[in-house]
Amino acid sequence: MTLNRRTLMIAASLTAAAFVAAPANAQKQYGPGASDKEIKIGNINPYSGPASAYGTIGKAIGAYFDKINDEGGINGRKIKYITLDDGYSPPKAVEQARRLVEAEQVLLLFQSLGTPSNTAIQAYMNEKKVPQLFVATGATKWNDPKNFPWTMGWQPNYQTEARIYAKHILQNVKDPKIAVLFQNDDYGKDYLDGLKEGLGAQASKLIVAMKSYETSDPTVDSQVVALMNSGANVFINITTPKFASQAIRKVHDLGWKPAHYLNNVSASVSTVLKPAGLEKATGIITSSYHMDPTDPQWQSGKAYQDWLAWMKKYYSAGDVASTFNVYGYSVAQTLVQVLKQCGDNLTRENVMRQAANLKNFQVPMLLPGISITTGPDDFAPIEQMRLQKFDGNIWVLFGEVLSPEGS
């Protein structure tokens, strides 16, 4: 399964007040699900089934909306958040999307999770002209306003991230021989595609070994052994947290010392690196766009403290070590900003218009220097990432804020 595990953060930072967006006329306009009193928002998350680990994102979003409602809502309107379970099954996602749109009459569908589920409902949402906003997946295809003007992603896509690693390898590793471990699904394949693209014409020569694993595999030890034996000096680790920990440990135990690139999905200090052993993780490079709530360097900052206070008050059952809860918090802040910009014109058309009108929006839990910008031709809200290297204790940022070339 794939997921879009990512985290983000955003802030409802006041800088955004710069755009008081706004329909010039004071006439109130409402689409389905919106009224003077409330705004109905639908969400689909896997609360059951093999991907239930991601369910916490849906709950975190709800907890953030509780906070907004406690503070008076958005322009005086309370958010009514309806979140449904699809068990990570595309047919169920279709059914739940139809329930939200046809029976619950929501204004928009927000943060439906998973590439397969979102692919399954994309045609329907666009045909019905209902916003499918900030989907929780890192696939590239959500940035396609021409064909799917009602669908928009949120997090940087997997391919972008992979290209960043490719570029870094080409610039920094002499005579690279690359070994890749990837999860056998759309998420892993997207990374792989981005990597090949980033390496260019020589990709097939530079990549000397690829091994995949299934989420049902108990361990990835065998794959790591095989990759090491390929003679590679670069290891690209495209795995979800549990498998990332196993791979980091195994690489170290085998005495293999490659340049180790770990995908952002698993860049958590306390839930990935610590289980593997911090000393074994030293030197790993990743790229990120959000803060890791378990990285000591952020924990004294205001962004983290605010987040922590919110977690304690509104989502005490949630795990403060989980980056998913940072992700849910941040993406919810992005939506709140869009709805603020909508003012009194809460039609589906205006929601899409405002979602495509975010300018340099700052989200507190995103890394310094990273902000959200969209436009009528740019349905990719977060495109910037920063490289960081683990020093045995914290992630140390290095280099510039990176954005995909050509965008």
């Binding site: 609360y47 059951s48 093999p50 099954s89 595309p90 169920k92 994309q122 699904d185």
Partner: protein, 345 residues
């Protein structure tokens, strides 16, 4: 699990066909009227429930009537779904022409699979079919040239003909209903006749059945093939209704849901397949409505509750109640362990 030969043989209305006929007629009438009473979204749900019912009839045939357990019928559902999707998407075949090839593809795989399965019983068959369920998404991803890999295949949803002003959902629903009725009619005829008796005999008394001249290889393989075919047809219908197939649509939990549906509905009954279809379609939603913190826990409690209250499934329960409270029904109850459609009356 252990011997499936321990299945309860549920006595069934064998001769008193009046009650049964009335029940079937009422059920069909209700099914015809239903789409006009509920929203399109509900109609879509019922379309899915109907296709699950067809899949469960297939599983019932194998597990209920022939005593061969399967934890892997999601694989046949996937074969049907992907056959339909590939024909539509890559070869431009109209959707209504994909149902039969989907059934045929599943039939062939079912027969091929049934041959080695013949030598395996109970636990071993459970392992093999469970493996099949686990391997299905991996296979689908591996042959990505045809299947679109993990991205799946998006299908254009069939539209109702312009001269028929009923909307796409009702249109699909009625087509599903037609297929369902044909499959159920064929299935119950098959089970009520020689074949059904042979299958049950092989389940309950394998050795004497063989002595009596029932060829176990033929019938057991046949049961696998036909069972897979029904489930494949159902997979095609569900794929067309959903408009999308992907490996994640056919994970292990789908296969397990099928077994759950067929047992909760009433194993070795035709009507049970319908109840089971409703169960696997609607109970997870109900569980989610009760708790979105841990819907699976609620779903699990539902399973336990159903098994306590109705150990022989919904169909078995209704029959027991009917025997107890409807004296006329009692005379209609024979020991013949075959079943009839709509015997839930």
């Amino acid at each position: 699990m252990a011997a499936t030969s321990g299945l309860a043989t549920i006595p069934v209305a064998a001769s008193g066909t009046n009650w049964r006929r009335i029940g079937v007629a009422v059920a069909i009438a209700a099914a015809l009227v239903l789409p006009w009473l509920v929203s399109d979204y509900r109609v879509f749900q019922f379309t899915l429930a109907g296709s699950y019912a067809v899949a469960l009839l297939g599983l019932n045939l194998l597990t209920g009537y022939n005593g061969q357990i399967s934890l892997g019928h999601g694989a046949f559902f996937a074969i049907g779904g992907y056959t339909a999707a590939i024909l539509m998407h890559r070869l431009g075949v109209p959707y209504y022409l994909t149902i039969l090839p989907a059934g045929a593809a599943a039939f062939i795989v079912g027969v091929l699979f049934g041959l080695p399965a013949l030598r395996l019983e109970n636990l071993y068959l459970a392992l093999v079919t469970l493996s099949m369920a686990v391997a299905t998404p991996q296979f689908l991803k591996y042959f990505d040239h045809w299947t679109g890999g993990s991205q799946g295949i998006v299908l254009r949803k069939p539209a109702a003909p312009t001269w028929l002003p009923i909307g796409n959902d009702k249109w699909l629903y009625y087509q599903m209903l037609v297929v369902l009725l044909i499959v159920f009619w064929a299935g119950s005829n098959l089970l009520a006749g020689r074949t059904g008796r042979a299958l049950v005999a092989l389940r309950d008394h394998p050795i004497s059945a063989t002595v009596m001249g029932i060829n176990p290889v033929f019938y057991k393989t046949c049961a696998f093939g036909v069972s897979a075919m029904f489930t494949g047809i159902a997979g095609a219908m569900a794929a067309i209704a959903t408009g999308f197939v992907a490996p994640d649509s056919f994970n292990v939990f789908l296969s397990i849901s099928f077994l759950v549906g067929s047992v909760v509905g009433g194993i070795a009954t035709v009507a049970g397949a319908v109840f089971g279809g409703f169960f696997i379609q609607f109970i997870p939603n109900l569980a989610n409505d009760i708790s979105d913190a841990a819907p699976w826990a609620i779903y699990g409690l539902f399973l336990l509750a159903f098994m306590y209250a109705m150990p022989t499934g919904i169909a078995g329960f209704i029959r027991t109640m009917a025997v107890r409270y409807a004296p006329k029904f009692r005379t209609a109850v024979g020991e013949q362990p075959t079943s009839q459609p709509g015997s839930h009356s």
